[in-house]
């Protein structure tokens, strides 16, 4: 799988020469009538194929929302699985139009890797998971441990920094995907598995008895996760940005999957809602989309809160509380720019 990806990336680098994409991404997506969305190879709750082969999860829903806003149909998405290592190359080489792969926004990625980040859609932080039998209660007791990490991630760098800062040694065991990390951790190749706390919750939920494993209290980094697009196509970046903002604003305004289309076809007396769902104003036109772009996105996957609750919230196996990922007026930090 990884090898194939690797090869594909290489081929893509040469192939992008052939398809010198001068047309705008929006035109490309419309012409293909399909949104190519780069996601993870499989992280339950974020993006993973279900038993019927349909991609499900938080990131997958954001892909569908963008597809619905642009093409009018949330199912016109081609999911492109990528490892932590191949994701940016795949995006930059044009194998994907947009990336939603629990990706941390950092300066070097934004500037040096030539990405444009969309607004943060999940506030996360790096944590550690250990078997309960190890008898460890703090990350500061991990001196000398073997740690499984996904390569090509910010976690790899945070880990090096954290152990160095605290004067501890460790043995890094580099793995490529979350699956592999899980296998190695179960086999006991490493004592500790580290990744974003949300990823740990997802991995922990896969154990027969999750109580045998505990997530240590230390969160050693800030991991603002968000979507990304290629540098240089501002219109496309704007579309991604405002779809995310619209989903968050929709939760704030009480627009849901159930009522979005209804609201869009009747002009109500709340101008904010009218502007968002497109019954008033020309927001969609400004973006180069249809007037009901946001309503279509919400009708496809629901507002931010619905997406959250369905995929990762307290009633899912992942059991991640809203915490920071709540609206600003409900104790969280989600504060989306207004659609005006």
């Amino acid at each position: 799988m990884k090898l194939i990806n690797k090869v594909l990336t290489g081929v893509a680098l040469t192939a992008m020469t052939a398809t010198a994409a001068q047309a705008s991404t929006l035109e490309d997506v419309r012409a293909a009538d399909e949104l190519k969305c780069v996601v993870t190879t499989g992280l339950a709750g974020f993006a993973a194929p279900n038993a019927a082969g349909r991609w499900e999860g938080f990131d997958a829903d954001f892909c569908r929302a963008v597809a619905a806003a642009v093409l009018g149909d949330g199912d016109k998405v081609k999911f492109v699985p990528s490892t932590g290592k191949t994701r940016f190359t795949m995006l930059n080489s044009g194998e994907g139009d947009i990336l939603f792969r629990n990706t941390t926004e950092t300066l070097s990625r934004d500037v040096d890797l030539k990405l444009s980040f969309l607004p943060v859609n999940f506030y996360d932080g790096q944590g550690f998971m250990v078997p309960a039998s190890l008898g460890v209660s703090s990350a500061l007791e991990l001196d000398g441990a073997s740690v499984c990490i996904q390569t090509g991630t910010t976690t790899e760098l945070n880990l090096a920094d954290y152990f160095r800062t605290n004067g501890m040694s460790y043995e890094p065991v580099a793995i490529e995907t979350n699956e592999e990390g899980f296998t190695n951790y179960v086999a006991g190749r490493c004592d500790v598995y580290t990744t974003d706390a949300s990823g740990l919750a997802s991995t922990r939920a896969k154990f027969e008895d999750p109580t045998q494993h505990l997530v240590l209290p230390e969160i050693i980094s800030k991991e603002p996760l968000g979507g990304a697009v290629r540098h240089g196509d501002d219109q496309w970046a704007d579309i991604g940005k405002w779809v995310v903002n619209a989903l968050i604003n929709a939760e704030e305004m009480g627009i849901t999957q159930a009522n979005a289309m209804n609201l869009a076809s009747n002009v109500g007396n709340n101008p904010g809602i009218n502007r968002l769902v497109g019954s008033e104003g020309t927001m969609g036109e400004m973006l180069g989309l249809g007037p009901k772009w946001a309503a279509q996105a919400i009708a496809a996957v629901g507002n931010y809160g619905e997406i959250y609750e369905r995929n990762v919230g307290p009633n899912t196996p992942l059991e991640i509380g809203r915490g920071l990922n709540n609206l600003w007026n409900k104790g969280g930090v989600l504060y989306a720019a207004p659609i005006r």
């Binding site: 020469t17 052939a18 000398g144 090509g152 580099a174 086999a187 540098h231």
Partner: protein, 392 residues
Amino acid sequence: MSTPTTNPLLRAWYDKETRSVIIQIIAAALIISFFAYIINNAVTNLAAIGKDINFGFLWQNASYDINQSLIEYSSTSSHFKAMIVGLINTLLVAVAGIFLATILGFLLGIMRLSSNWLTQKIAYVYIEYIRNVPVLLHILLLYGVILNALPRPKSSYNLNDTFFLNNRGLQMPSPEFESLFWVVAAFLVGGLAFSLWFKRYAKKIQDATGKIYPVGMISIGAIVLLPMAVYFLIGSPIVWDVPALKGFNFKGGIVLRPEFIALWLALSLYTAAFIGEIVRAGIIAISHGQTEAAQALGLSNSFILKLVVIPQALRVIIPPLTSQYLNLAKNSSLALAIGYMDVVATIGGISLNQTGREMECMLIVMAIYLAMSLLISSVMNWYNDRIQLVER
């Protein structure tokens, strides 16, 4: 054949020499313009997304750790250093693999020719099984077996409290040389020099008088026994750093990690199967008449092998053996599958990803493999030239 014509262009075309030159020029132009197109496109497209080709990132901090490093390395070292660490790891597994594969391969080749039915069939089944399954599967299988079949560190297989085997690898004591060790080292170097000289001297004497010295035995004495005796005489100037379980893992000593063991064994076992067949072919190629002629001269069996069969068989074996060595060295890049930190995993993997310099990193990795392969080829070709038939 050619019809006489007055048109000078057609005449040029009908001329065999001119025609081949024209075709060559056209072919060369096509190839050059193809590559020019590709390179130009790559540069243009990189420029389109605002990237250039720049190797400056090599001197920035790598910021990540590598578990197996034979030289001093930390997360504050540069990407260049990370590349060197990866390169050394690649060379380590390639050299160790070539060494083991050669020994196993020769053994298998001889077993295949054995008159003992069981021995012959064992080698036959081994070769057919191993070489018909992709090497990547062997690597993954061995890695899985090591991780799951071996115990955790706390319940390691323990040999005499010095060697420990568990699913974190094989922990072994490492030597620490005390100051007096230079005496032993000096005897070792002296012994080597003496053996080299003695081999020539013995050959000269043999050519002149026919007297044969036991060169092998005397060399072993000079290189192994004498330094060993000196070592014990001056009181064993090596202290062994024995690994001991501390917390999660063993501390001290050196460790062969599961990733290294799996890759090394898989590459060796796989390539050995091919080498076995090459060795068998090489020996069969020497006609039985040669052996009979040697017997008629009254040579003993060991001399027949040493002086008649092996030197001729090597001429057949070496060229295909070279390509097996090359295969092994290049297959070591499958390390990626199990997270062995070779040159592809460091500069071609983590560095590439953290810096986003795909072109640069891939060019570096390709250059490294090319250089490595050319080096192996030239050494093997040099050896091949040496053993070729010298015609007088």
